[in-house]
Structure formats: C-alpha cells, structure tokens
Symmetry: C3
Amino acid sequence: MKRTLTLLSLISITAQATETPDLETLYRLLQAQQRQLQRQQEEIAGLRRQLAKLQGKHARKRRIKISTKNGFTIKDRDSGSSLRIGGRVHIDQAFYHQDETSLGNGAKLRRARLFAAGAIGHDWRFKSEIEFGENGKVGPRNVWLAWRGWKPLKVTLGHFQEPFSLEGMTSSNAITFMERALPFAFTPDYHIGAAVSGHGERWSASAGIFGDTLQSRNDNVDQGWGSAARFTFAPWRGDGRFLHLGLSGEYRQPDSRHRVRFRSRPESYVTGKRLVDTRTIDRVQDTFKGVAEGAFGYGPLSLQGEYFHTWVERRGLSTLNFSGWYAYGSWLLSGESRPYRPQSGNFGRIVPAHRWGAWELGLRYSALDLSDGDVRGGRERNLTVGLNWYLFPNLRFMANYILADTSPNRDGRHERPRIFQLRGQVDF
Amino acid sequence: MKRTLTLLSLISITAQATETPDLETLYRLLQAQQRQLQRQQEEIAGLRRQLAKLQGKHARKRRIKISTKNGFTIKDRDSGSSLRIGGRVHIDQAFYHQDETSLGNGAKLRRARLFAAGAIGHDWRFKSEIEFGENGKVGPRNVWLAWRGWKPLKVTLGHFQEPFSLEGMTSSNAITFMERALPFAFTPDYHIGAAVSGHGERWSASAGIFGDTLQSRNDNVDQGWGSAARFTFAPWRGDGRFLHLGLSGEYRQPDSRHRVRFRSRPESYVTGKRLVDTRTIDRVQDTFKGVAEGAFGYGPLSLQGEYFHTWVERRGLSTLNFSGWYAYGSWLLSGESRPYRPQSGNFGRIVPAHRWGAWELGLRYSALDLSDGDVRGGRERNLTVGLNWYLFPNLRFMANYILADTSPNRDGRHERPRIFQLRGQVDF
Amino acid sequence: MKRTLTLLSLISITAQATETPDLETLYRLLQAQQRQLQRQQEEIAGLRRQLAKLQGKHARKRRIKISTKNGFTIKDRDSGSSLRIGGRVHIDQAFYHQDETSLGNGAKLRRARLFAAGAIGHDWRFKSEIEFGENGKVGPRNVWLAWRGWKPLKVTLGHFQEPFSLEGMTSSNAITFMERALPFAFTPDYHIGAAVSGHGERWSASAGIFGDTLQSRNDNVDQGWGSAARFTFAPWRGDGRFLHLGLSGEYRQPDSRHRVRFRSRPESYVTGKRLVDTRTIDRVQDTFKGVAEGAFGYGPLSLQGEYFHTWVERRGLSTLNFSGWYAYGSWLLSGESRPYRPQSGNFGRIVPAHRWGAWELGLRYSALDLSDGDVRGGRERNLTVGLNWYLFPNLRFMANYILADTSPNRDGRHERPRIFQLRGQVDF
C-alpha cells in the first residue's frame, strides 16, 4: 500500500511537470511502473485462485439437484440416488336421485395419498405410498422396488397393480370420468407380486405373477395367486394423433377357500352400495379374464373403448361367463390433445394450453352383465356426461351426470337412479 | 509464460544495474512493459467473463428457494409452486386420583401428525395431513385445496375444521392448557365442506357449508350437513396489547337417522371416559350452536373466555338447551406476550425471548351443563392450574393439575376426581 | 475504451518503429502506460468487490445444507435445525412345507415405514414414524423427542423400543436373518416411555420406564408399566474385530387385568400362526426377563448368541419359568465385516466393498421353551440357513430355509414344518 502511494504521488508529480524529465528520472519512473506491474500480476493471480475456488464450490454444490418439474425431487448427480415426495387428494360430493336402493347423498374424501419415491444408484427405483381413503381406512398402495439395469426392460417387485386394461393402467389422476367404467369390477386389485415389462417406440408389454390382496390374508389358507399380461401396440401415431390397440388377460386361482365375487358401484363412490353383485361364488377352481382395448385420437377428439370377458371355472358346476364393455368420446373444447403414451400403453395428464385452463367434455356408455347360470348378479347400463376443467396439469375440477339403469339389479328389481357428482382434484 | 520470464529477468538485470541505461535500452524496457500490460488486460477481461458466468449461474440457481423459517419448504420462485413437509407429536402421561369412575392411569400418544402442504401456481394452496392418534387409530385431518386469487378472500374445499369458537380455531400446538375446555363438546369435528373467508387489519370473517365426519359414513342414510360462520373483531390493538371480540355459530341437520350426542372427557385424553354424556339423543330435527368469544391481553398477562349455547330441536319433543363456558388467565412469567392474530381471530405460538425459554402460568375455570328436559347428561366444573415451558417456538413441555367436579355425572353420581398430567410437544 | 484504443494504436506505432524515439516521446509513452496501469488497478479492485459479493452470497446460501449421505436431509447450519425424510420397505414371499398346522403360502408386505425426523436447535432431536404392516394395519413406530444437551448422555421421551437384547436393539434393516430368533417372543414391544442412555468408547448403557403398548389401551384399567435396562461392553475391539458382552433385563407389571402371553411365529411372518404359545396367563403379579448377550467377530466371520430367561410371578400360583436361546454364525463371502457399534452395543448395515455387492451366508440354531408348571405353551427348535445379497448398503435380498421342530407345539403335537422364504428390502 505504502509503495503504491509513493508511486502514485511520484506519478502525479511527473504528470504535472510540463517539461520532459531527464533520462535518469525516466528510468526511475520505469522501474516504479515495473514494480506496479508485478504487484498487479500477483493480484490477478490471487483473484484467479479465489475464482477457481468459488467455481469449484459451485460445481460441488451442483451435485445435489432440486427439481420441481415432476414433483419435488432431490437428486444426487454422482450416485444417481434421489428422493421424491408427492401425493394426491380427490374430494367428492354426490347427489343421488335414487330409485329403489337408498344410496345416501354426501361428501367423501375419495383418495388422499402421500408417497416417497426415488432411486438407489442408477438402476434401482422404489416407491412407498400410503392411501387414506374411504371412511378413514388407511393402507398401502404402490409399495415396490424396481430394477432398470437393462433398458428398456424393467423388473418390479412389490405391491402394485397387475397389468390389465387400458383404463385400469391409466392413473386416477388422468382418467376422463370421475370413476372407471362398470367393467372395472373385473380389474384385479393391487397385489404383491413380481412383473417384467419392456417397450419399444410403438409398443409396450408386461407380464407378472401376483399373490392376493393384503386384506384377504388368512392364516389357515394358502393365498391365491394370479398371472397377468398386457400387450399394447400403436400402429398409427403422430402429433396429437394415435391409434391404440391392446390385449390383456389374467389367469387366477383363488385362495384355498375357492371363492370369488364380482360387483360394481354405479360409477359413483360416495355411496358404498353396489346395484350389481354376484355375491360370493363358491367352489371356484380358477378364473380367466380377457380384455380387448382400443383407443383413437385426432387432435382434441378421442375415442376409447374396452371389452371384458370373464370365465369362472367351478368344481362340479357349470363354467360362468360374465362380460362388460364401455365406449366413450372426449372432446377437449380448448383444443389440447389427450397425451397418449405408447411406451406404457396408457394416457398421461392433460396440460392446459391456456392461462384459464383446459375444458373437456365426455360422453360414456358402459354395460356390465353379472348374471349367468345360477348366479343372478344383475345387469347395469350407465350413460355418463362429464365436464372437466383443468386449471393446471395437476389441478382439476370434474362434474359427472350419470343415468344408471339396472335390468335387473342384484335383487331382481329394475331401477334407474340418477347421479350428479363433483370432484376437486390435486396431485403434487 | 516464457515471455514473462524473459521480461522479469530483463527487469531484474536492469534493476541491479546501478548506472542509468541508454535511451535504446529504456525504450526496449518500455516496449516489454507494454506487452506485459496487454497480457494483464486480457487476463482481467478473462476473469471478468468467468465472474459474469458464475454470477449468472448463481442467479439461475436461486430460482429454487429452500427455507427453514416456517417448516421446511422448497419453493420454485418462477411458478410460485412449493412443497412443505411437517408434522407434530404430542406425548401425554396422566395420573388419575379417581373418585367413582375408573379412569386408568397411563401414557398416550395424544397426537402424531405428518403433512405435505404447498402451493400450485401463485393462487392455489393445498394440504394433506394424516394423524395417528388414540390407540393406534389413523385418519386424515387437514386435507384441502384453497384458492387465494382475490386477496384477502380465500375459498377452501376439503376436509377441515368448521369456523367455530376461539379455542377451537387455535391450533393444538398453541392452546394454553393441554386440552381445550369442557364446552369443546359442542365444537364440530373436521368435516368435508367448502368455506369462504376474508379479513381486514382488525377483523376476520368466515362461513361455510359442511358434510358429516368421515367415520360416520353409512350408505343407507343421507349424510347430515351443517353451516357455520364466525366473525371476529379487535377494537383495541397495539404492541403486545389486544382486545378480541367474536361470535360464531353453527346450524346443523343430522343424517337421516336423526341422532346427536354431546359428551366431554375431563380435559384429559389419556382416559377415554366421559364423566358427562348426553348419550344418543333421538328424533333430532336440527341443532343450533352459538358462541360468544372474548379475549384481552396486556403484555405478559392475558384473559380469555367463551360462552357456548346449544339448542337441539326435536320432532314431537321439547327443544333441549345445553350450555357451557370457560374463562382463563395466562401469565407469561418470562415477559413475552401471547401472539394474537387479528386477521384470523386466533392465537399463534409463543416465541421465547430468552435462551432458557419462556415460562407460562395459567388458571382456568370451565363448566358444562348437559342436563335438560328428559336428557340427564350431567354437569361438570373443572378448575385447572397449568405450567408451560417453551424451549423453542416449536418445543414445549406442559403440566396440568385439574380438579374436576360433577354434580352429577352421566350416571347421576357426584364425584371429584383429581388429575395430574404432563405433555411433551414438538412440531416441525 | 477510447483512451485504450488511442494508447494501443500509439503503442503499435512505436512498436513498429525501428528507430529509437526521442526522450520526449518516450516520456509520453511512459505517461500513457501509467494511465493504463491506473485503469487496470481500478478494474482489479472492481473484480475484487464483485468476487467478495459473490463469495458472501455463496456463504449465506451454504447455511442450508442438503445431504444425501444418511438419508435425504435438509439442514440449517445456523440454528442446527434439520429435517430428514426416509422409510423402509420389506417384501416377503414364503413357501410352507407344513406338517400338522396349516401355515398358508403367500406373499406379504412385511414392513413399510415412512418417517420424518430431525433436529430442533443443536440439542433436541425428534422422529415421527408410521408403519403400515401386516394385513394393512397402520400404526406409529418410532415417535419420540430426545435431548442431547450433555453428550454422551441422551434422554428420550416417546414411543420407542425398550432397551432389551442384542438382536432386539439391531434394526430390522441390519439383522442377519429375515426374522429375529424364536426367543424374540420375550422382547418388549414399542412402548410409550422415557429413557436415559450414555456410552463410552467401548461401552453403552441405557435404562428407562415404559407404559403399555398403544393397542392394549383400555379405559377401565390402569396401564401396565415396566422398567428396562441394558449394559454392553466390548473388551476387545479392532479393525474388523470385536468381542461384545451384554446384559439386559426388564421388570414389568401388567395392567390391572393381570394377564400376560408369550408366543412366537416360526421365524416366518407371512403366516400368522404360532406353533408355540402360552395362551393368556392369568393372575400375573409381575414378570422379570433377563438376557445374556455375546458376539464375536474376526474379519468376515462373526458369531452371535443370546440366552433369555423369563420369570412370571403369579398371585397364589407357582412362579413360571420360560427360556430360550439362539446362536448363529455369519460369513461374509465377499470379505466385508459386520459393522459392530460399541457405542450403541449393536450392529449397523453392511456396506458392500464390491461393485457387484456383498454376499453373506448364515447358520442359526434357536430354541424356545414355553412350557412350565400348568402352562403347556410348547417347545420349538429351529435351524435356519440364510443367504443375503447386499447390492447397496440400503438394498438387499434375503433367502432363508428353516427346519422347525416342535416337541411339542401349543396343541401337544410334534411337527416339523419346513419353510423357504425370500425378502426384497430397501430403506431410504
């Protein structure tokens, strides 16, 4: 500092001097400048070292990445490990213009889920999800461990959904109507099992073996088990355009009590009542269920339908045949397209293109026949009009008006309840 | 590098030379310095570029904000979306010097809650909270979706508390005694519903309509519903000083079984016993409950009281009148003030001003009368002395000594149990 | 900028000039260089200021630390407060080659837990953990508040495990076989209580008093209570070498119904059946349980064993004596050592040393005798072979083959079921 001041004063003196100095003064000035240059060089080197240190720190810090794109995720870039916290809340209100069966107007917390998911290293994924749903019941949903070491192959182990049906494989956050269609009665529940899946650009395939539902556990009996497979193919695919074809099936042996039951609520879950219900079917050897899936989309318009058939093989009794189907059309009034995902053979969430959100109009017809042979479970047909308002990809409001028609219901009576229901839905 | 070395050696040689060099040497030295200056200029420009780049990175990274002020929150500054994880744990131990009724000494996990909450965009908020409470029972608490697009208005949809009573609207993390006073028997539970609220600098108002409790769901009956409103006003307010006045009321129709029941534990929840209990009241048309609220604070001293009245309208039977009230004083021995919040008409958490925490002494008298007409639910009066130690705003220990007096209890007997209970409480 | 350009052009002119300039020109050049030097000095000072500002920002930001080392943790360095989210998932499949008792083949979600844990200030810790386990049952596990103000002392308050037995104190994430050995029947469950613990370099000690299990809560009876203590010592300890000695005991008075029950599943939890079971023992005054613990490790080899004895004092009836023991050997085929932790007297998780993970082979013999006096609970001896594959410290697969032998079982019959079971385990 002292040196610099001395130099500066020297400079100012020489700068003020009007006459040219002599050679010796000039040389001294030059020497002073040289010392100044050296000091600056050292200062620059110092700055460079500090900057490098800060850049290093910055780079190390960037090892941990926090993302908000797809839920809130903390990721360690080095190890590949990550943790994500999320959940969903679906709140329903239903008004029943009931006929014979009392359905009970009211509100319901349809689904509230919280989960932690993530990765261990680069190849392993896990998810642990809890649902508190109907009437305060709490239980596990997706609780699994998956290996993705050989892409696009995936091996999953744990408690998850069997691969079965297009609507069954589409998240409840993304389905077009408030509830899945009547033949969802045939769709297997979450089960503990192991599955392998793979995909190409235009196809997906998955198969697995599965045990029983957690709640059905009984120590005196061997658990039932099932094997399910699904294959989907998209022969035609473009920007906002798709044609989906799929086949899925499940073979299942019930537990050693040899019982099965199929039943369905009237596409409304505020009530617990089922208008159609096979009640317990005994002496069941095994069941086979098959589904033919189809969907087509062109810009804001899309069509979707599935046909379900179930064979129930019984010991010493005739085989039972149950079936159901549904078909619906969706029109995104605001111009978006339903996001078809050929690599998983299902639909993702609609992303609103406008500040005021997206609007969707849907019309669905569904039918379920649970009467065959000695089993008189009833027949139901539902016509539903739905209107959805998507404010964000993860926030939507839904309204459904359902005309149900049983011919007959589980008690042999014909009834035509009408249902109006509303949903507020958020996921994070 | 080579050039610099050459220059430096040149300089050192000239510096050691005692005699003045000739003009040509001087000129060469000047030229060498000039090259050195140019190189330094380039180095400075390089440093400037690197620094700008690092500053840019830093700014981009600050888009994600992690805060620990009010729970642990991850926020995306751009979209306004955020996620917060939190919870609370209350652990109790109670000793009962019982009289007639056996109360059962012991310990209890009074409340353990975990929640995820956050924002979607700038206008929407959500919360999804699970409680595992008494005897291992698990269920949802605050599970809602709220819109704040037109401040200070707020619209809430979901499972939450009806706006009713000052003590009811104050968090269990912030109430002065371990349990709310006896007339809490009249306070509606968490219900699914929709509410609108607003506030000014000195007032708050909220109103909503609500369904039944989740657990009371029955498919054969229409759910009950209620409508509640609350208005609070703070005519006098200053630093550590406040006067709170409030009114709240709830009109409710029970479900189609037409039943209600009011009962209260002796301000102690380790026992499940209720000394006063109307038992099931049948043929109920509707109920109306009203509360007059008041609170006053001056520095470390505060007073709080509420009066509750409940009318039960019955079909073909006389209207029943039940009532209750409580009043208490709190003295923060360590000099802090209870944090009154006029914009929500309730109290926040006490923030200790000292390193060794805050100490609070409280005295409460509460009364509940559940006997009227043909209903002999009993009368109870409790006197409670409470001592609280706040180590952090979110960590406190509580001790309550309660003298209960029934005249008579639900079985017509006079008894005077004494209760000593302790709590450890943390929230995060 | 203009000045610099002028200077540069001046320089280039002089540089190109082959003849030496006169003294005056040289002086002007020197003056120009001097101005250049001053400007550079200012630029360097500017850079220094900007860099200091950025370093300051960086330091402020580093207040919040996100770590992935031990779970995903967000920590505020200033206040010491932190939050950690984690959990575990254990999924089992069991095949029973049963003898007399039907055990029921199948799959089970053995454990799925989620927790939030953390610190409040520098001295307080908390944990709030929920488990959804067998058959969809949900409940709290570790829910506590701990104070560590006087290290190495720790005071814990809440719902946690009583200090008892080496295997009992080792996390289910780290135990060598899929289930703890038969005498785990004597190990107290999670209870609400308070405990104090401390440790040295080679020893650990803890003691506490505890209430009843949450589920056993009954309002008409006083809760039972117990007091447990454990002391461990490692007389020999080195790199991968240890000798562990320990003693633990619990004194307990049952609740005012005076009942106890001891029973054990056959080291397999997919079934709910217990082959040995005292059934309810009445008129119990108190129980005392003692455990002698031992473990020895040398490189990849380790031995572990415990002996359990339980005295059941009854009113007006003879005292009952039950006992059990187990011993096992573990060989880490891939060369790692079991991580013994002398400061808590238990084992941590095995950290694989190879990219393809670690392999462990185990052999265990366990015995439990629940028959004494008038109580004929049965005797069981199990021989287990176990194989574990650790892919990451927090991801492992386990296979156990168990030869069980009852002589007799709870119903007086001799049976020898064989069990093969598999587990997928992840914790995060």
